[in-house]
């Protein structure tokens, strides 16, 4: 850089410079003085220095004259403000309409804000915001006029009221609003060094304001710190959210052309812009505000925004769009850990230490923020209230509804990485030893079973809610119609064609949309709940959601405080969310409903016990078992205190608790509870009922788990028959039980029927849920599994990969489903001989399971057992042994000694000991288990007994010669071979390897006792083995 201009002539000499400085002092002193005094000063100060005196006089003259260059300054200043230059700028003192400007407060994104005085009809101080020129004034004012009517309903302590709008004489639109002193929320927090909890409390106030507007159907669209002003009132910080409706009135479609000129001026900063806004969509909704709130929270926590302003500002339009739409910002705690340079300051402003700040933010606050910042708005909190509730939960130490994104994310990454590996690995067909009883045996059915816990109570919930809603209704018309509608639901219509019912619903919903019942909100609410519930029963979920969400808004508006109606609509809506797989949203609704009901009914109350149960179901569906269990138990205990004898409510809550305990692997405790519920339901309802078929299914599955197939099968078949009578042909309820039966058939090796039933279930679900759905994905998983059972590895891999991909696309379903599919894929890769691929898949699946379930859960044990096989196959024997011991210990604890899976673990461990040449250990283990094996491993499991005996005999003879032991081994070997031959045939790998061991055995015997003819026997057994 050179200096701006070369020196020119006429420079002042050092003397001149000195004189000019002196002149400055005199000028400043004389400036404020009167004329006479001024003369005196000049005479005194300048004395005989004529040049100095002339200079001072020049300055005094210049002071009175215009400086044309100031024009440039004004223009540049105006340019910074984004104002179009050349028109008069409103300044203090001037009048606009009935307002007199008092003081310029500052500039917002839209224009300049003044404090002003209103003279009529009331005298008050207001804030007046003048919008920049260049926007279409007339349109803006007209749009604002529309908006103003909506804004008039906003009445919330945290919202600045908007009073008026108009246009100045120069045509600039202006808005008049409540005068808010204070400073932007982020500046306030930093200046007062507020710690994280205090910041969160302020943030809650912002959410409350936005939520209030949302319930009135008003979206802010431009939430950012400068629109959330904080002042201290009565010693407490108070938030006022300003500029509601302004963004909408001034919004225009965002294009590249208008981006920098218009948008950048208007909105000012792209950091708070949601992906849908960045796309230029005018279709914004409450979730757009949720995104901006997420950015705001991010800033309050970390001092920065998810995408740093500098990065965005230096990017072009397309790049800004891309960043906002595609880039995943770091979680707040990650951002904090990245900026070691600034974290000291950031932490100090939050009244804490850098390390401690990271710890506070990491985890739940990260999740909350990241959920609000989801690119896909369907995955964000639906409302500001939902976000605020999670923040409150965090403050209270409760579990938040936001979940770590890492599991699904990790799985996606994992699959991506391993795809290449899988493709690069040559497939070598290696079949599993028959002794590994049905590889991935347990994990496979997990998917189908999981549904049960969620779905089992759904139908009853709806009935109960419909009944509650029908009571105490303001409008008889609505009551009448509600009766018809709920009476026509599937559980009553029993399979009669529901087309007509659907048409009736559409007509009724259409009338409501047109506002025909606007005058009677309670009637409309009642009707909406009935229509929504019935839609939901017909699995018309988007329709149900729409109708119920509108109903919820009406409920909130009509009943400003807690009310049973609001709780009921929340419950219905939650059911729809659950059906759609959006458990986070469902939990938020359920929790709100429960809290509301607890406040309405302190102490025991049936609606509270029911709401406990509902929330527990939703939590359990979202894998939050720890939170679910106490709620299930509370629900049953409370109901028992309230009712006597047979009661549908008690039966329902018992079933829920039993199903939950079942899902947790607490079979002993679960079974009598479920049986009590089934008997009670059969007495309460005569004939077919969804509750009965649901508990039959649950209990059937429990017996499957415990290995009581003969008890389980008729129960499942009865449930299917009942569902076919209750529901239309494509109903997911039918698919659910059908696939459960299929799973049982698979377990008992009836693969043909199993496959056709799985395919039937898949077809039903495809029709019931067009597009991607987690249940469809689970059904594909099941078809893939049965294919792998039948050694169709190609088909299996195809279905499994498609299932995993669909889970990834859906993203909101329970994570265990993905973990199951991944473990199954690992099994298929193992079968194809891709051992490293199988190992890493299996380890990934295990990690996912362990993060969700208890270490003793059947799924976890199955995966551990499977991992053992993969490790063993790769010669990693020590690692394999650890897995085998873990699996066996878990199964003994969970299933007892006499269970096929426990025995399977024993066989596996025995084989491993043999491989490690720990023969005495193997022999002891197997001998102790022999009675149980002979009792349990019969009929279709006889082949497994063959493997058991082979393994035991092998360990015995390998311990060295002993006449009795060798004779015993010979007997066991021959029995094993016969069993294997019968079950698997001559070419079965297990039969072949058994034969090989026998040949080896006779060779050893020959060596120990030569000349007794064992060499001939050895040759005889070698032959078939060589084949």
């Amino acid at each position: 850089m050179t200096t701006s201009s070369e020196d020119k002539g006429g420079q002042p000499s050092p003397d001149d410079a000195l004189r000019l400085r002196r002149a400055k002092t005199i000028f400043l002193r004389a400036q404020d003085a009167g004329l006479a005094e001024r003369e005196e000063i000049l005479d005194r100060e300048c004395r005989d220095d004529a040049e100095l005196r002339a200079l001072v006089l020049d300055l005094l003259r210049g002071d009175q004259e215009p400086l044309t260059a100031e024009r440039l300054a004004d223009d540049i200043r105006a340019a910074y403000e984004g104002s179009t230059v050349g028109k008069p700028v409103e300044s203090r003192g001037s009048r606009i309409g009935r307002y007199r400007l008092i003081e310029r407060l500052g500039e917002g994104g839209f224009g300049v804000v003044f404090s002003a005085e209103q003279s009529e009809p009331v005298k008050r101080r207001v804030a007046l915001k003048i919008i920049k020129l260049g926007m279409d004034t007339r349109q803006v004012v007209a749009r604002f006029e529309q908006e103003r009517q909506a804004l008039a309903v906003l009445d919330h302590p945290n919202i600045a009221k908007v009073f008026d709008a108009g246009a100045t004489e120069t045509g600039r639109p202006y808005f008049v609003m409540e005068l808010c002193t204070g400073e932007p929320i982020d500046a306030y927090c930093d200046r007062h060094k507020l710690d994280i909890p205090k910041r969160l409390e302020l943030f809650e106030q912002v959410c409350a304001a936005v939520q209030h507007a949302h319930t009135k159907g008003i979206i802010h669209r431009d939430i950012k710190p400068s629109n959330a002003m904080v002042s201290t009132q009565d010693g407490r910080p108070m938030v006022k959210v300003i500029d509601f409706g302004v963004a909408k009135a001034t919004a225009s479609r965002l294009t590249e052309k208008t981006f920098f000129t218009e948008y950048a001026q208007m909105i000012g900063t792209p950091e708070y812009m949601s992906p849908e806004q960045a796309e230029g969509s005018l279709d914004v909704d409450t979730r757009t505000d949720v995104y901006a709130l997420g950015v705001l929270l991010y800033r309050l926590l970390t001092g920065t925004t998810p995408f740093e302003g500098n990065k965005l500002r230096s990017a072009g339009f397309a790049e800004i769009q891309r960043i906002i739409r595609e880039e995943d910002p770091p979680a707040p705690s990650t951002r904090l850990s990245q900026s070691t340079a600034t974290i000291q300051t950031v932490a100090a402003q939050r009244d804490t230490e850098p390390r401690r700040l990271g710890l506070i933010v990491r985890g739940e606050l990260d999740w909350i923020v990241m959920k609000a910042l989801e690119k896909d708005r369907a995955r964000r909190y639906d409302t500001a209230g939902g976000l605020a509730m999670d923040v409150r939960r965090f403050l209270l130490g409760d579990a938040v509804t936001a979940a770590p994104p890492s599991r699904v994310y990790a799985a996606r990454k994992f699959i991506g990485r391993n795809r290449a590996l899988v493709a690069a690995t040559m497939a070598i067909a290696v079949s599993l030893p028959a002794g590994v009883l049905a590889f991935a045996w347990q994990a496979r059915i997990a998917s189908a079973e999981r549904d049960v816990a969620v779905q089992a109570r759904v139908a009853e919930v709806r009935q109960r809610q419909a009944a509650e809603v029908e009571r105490d209704r303001a409008s008889r018309v609505a009551e009448f119609m509600s009766g018809i509608l709920s009476g026509a639901g599937p559980s009553v219509a029993k399979g009669r064609d529901s087309t007509m019912l659907r048409e009736m619903l559409d007509v009724a919903a259409g009338k409501l949309e047109k506002g025909e019942l606007k005058a009677a909100p309670l009637a409309e609410l009642s009707l909406r709940t009935s229509i929504g519930d019935t839609y939901s029963e017909l699995s018309a979920l988007p329709e149900a959601k729409r109708v119920l969400e509108a109903g919820l808004a009406i409920a909130r508006e009509t009943h400003q405080s807690d009310h049973a109606d609001t709780a009921a609509v929340l419950g219905s809506l939650a059911t729809v969310h659950e059906e759609m797989g959006d458990f986070a949203a469902a939990i938020a609704c359920r929790r709100e409903a429960l809290e509301m009901l607890r406040r309405l009914h302190p102490g025991d109350h049936l609606s509270v016990s029911a709401a406990c149960n509902d929330l527990a179901n939703a939590l359990s569906a979202a894998d939050d078992h720890d939170a679910a269990e106490p709620l299930y138990r509370e629900s049953v205990a409370m109901t028992r205190r309230l009712v006597s004898g047979d009661d549908s409510e008690l039966a329902r809550n018992l079933a829920a608790l039993g199903s939950f305990l079942h899902a947790m692997g607490e079979y002993e405790e679960a079974q009598p509870i479920l049986e009590e519920s089934l008997a009670m339901n059969r007495r309460v309802y005569s004939g077919d009922h969804p509750n009965i078929s649901n508990i039959l299914t649950e209990l059937g599955l429990l017996h499957v788990r415990r290995g009581h197939y003969d008890v389980a099968e008729p129960m499942l078949r009865e449930a299917i028959a009942m569902n076919r009578r209750l529901y239309s042909a494509d109903h997911p309820e039918i698919a659910r039980v059908v696939s459960n039966l299929a799973s049982m058939l698979r377990e008992t090796n009836r693969l043909d029927e199993a496959q056709s039933l799985y395919v039937e279930a898949l077809e039903i679900l495809k029709k019931a849920f067009p597009g991607d759905h987690y249940r469809t994905a689970a059904a594909m998983n099941n078809v893939g599994l049965v294919m792998s059972d039948r050694n169709d590895n190609e088909g299996a891999e195809k279905y499994l990969r498609e299932s995993i991909a669909m889970h990834e696309r859906v993203g909101t379903g329970p994570d265990t489903l993905v973990a199951v599919s991944i473990s199954n894929l690992a099994a298929v890769l193992y079968a194809k001989g891709d051992l490293p691929g199988a190992e890493s898949m299996m380890r990934n699946s295990l990690r996912m399971f362990k993060s969700i379930l208890s270490p003793d859960a059947p799924e976890v044990l199955s995966i551990v057992a499977n991992l053992q096989m993969i490790l063993q196959k790769q010669g990693k024997l020590a690692e394999a042994e650890a897995c085998a011991l873990e699996a066996l210990a878990g199964r003994r604890k969970l299933l007892g000694e006499e269970h096929p899976l426990t025995l399977s673990s024993i066989i596996n461990l025995g084989m491993l000991y043999n491989k490690q040449e720990k023969y005495p250990q193997a022999a002891t283990l197997l001998e102790q288990a022999e009675p149980a094996a002979r009792k349990v491993l019969v009929d279709e499991l006889a082949g497994t007994l063959g493997t058991f005996l082979t393994t035991m005999a092998r360990s015995r003879f390998s311990m060295g010669f002993d006449d009795a032991r060798y004779r015993r081994s010979e007997k066991d070997f021959l029995e094993a071979h016969a069993l294997l031959l019968k079950v698997g045939g001559e070419a079965d790998p297990s039969t072949v390897s058994c034969g090989a061991f026998i040949a080896e055995f006779y060779a050893a015997w020959e060596k120990a006792e030569p000349g007794k003819g064992y060499d001939a026997k050895a040759r005889e057994w070698t032959k078939p083995a060589a084949k």
Binding site: S4, S5, P12, L28, L72, D75, I76, G309, R313
Partner: protein, 195 residues
């Protein structure tokens, strides 16, 4: 846009009165403004080749800093931009006057981007010259004037950037303004106080 990131970073670290970060920033901002200026001037069909400093500063500001009113670096940017703007304008008009051959620097004017018919001339080269003279006697007053005139900054902002009190800025500005007005309005230095 590699330089732009540094602008933002430098600004983020700027402290009141921090001349060092100013000096690092200046080349970057200057480069940006100059590039923008030449893109304006190269625009076809603009026969007048009018340089519009306000448009320049507006675009440069949005590009480099954005429009975040809360952000403290804003004032530092404005101060640096003032210096850069002064230089860009001087370069521009020196070149123009050379082209006009014989046109005295004092006759060359630029327009504010004002409304039609309301153009007032700002004699940039003369102004620059006067500010240099002033700087020899009172550097701080010259800086204040530069920030005020080429940066459109208000006195509070200038006070924050320089790390001095508001009163000091007011005095400096009154002095600088009076001096500039007396020099730019009179053709020569007047000996006659009672004009």
């Amino acid at each position: 846009m590699a330089g732009i990131q540094s602008v933002a970073e430098l600004l983020a670290n700027a402290e009141p009165g921090d001349e060092r970060s100013m000096n690092e920033l200046l080349p970057l901002v200057y480069k940006e403004l100059r590039a923008l200026a030449s893109s304006y001037l190269d625009r076809p069909g603009d026969a007048a080749h009018t340089l519009q400093p306000t448009a320049l500063v507006h675009e440069a500001f949005l590009k480099m800093v954005g429009d975040d009113r809360q952000w403290s670096g804003r004032e530092h940017f404005m101060a640096v931009a003032a210096k850069a703007m002064r230089q860009v304008l001087v370069d521009h008009w020196r070149k123009r006057s050379a082209e006009k051959r014989g046109g005295g620097a004092n006759q060359v004017s630029i327009s504010g981007i004002g409304a039609e018919g309301a153009i007032e001339d700002v004699r940039v080269l003369e102004l620059d010259d006067l500010l240099q003279q002033l700087a020899k006697a009172d550097a701080r007053s010259a800086r204040v004037a530069e920030m005020r005139l080429f940066g459109g900054m208000e006195q509070e902002q200038i006070a924050r950037v320089l790390g001095v009190s508001r009163v000091t800025v007011t005095s400096d500005w009154q002095f600088a303004r009076a001096w500039l007005a007396s020099r730019m309005n009179g053709t020569t230095r007047s000996e006659d106080a009672g004009r």
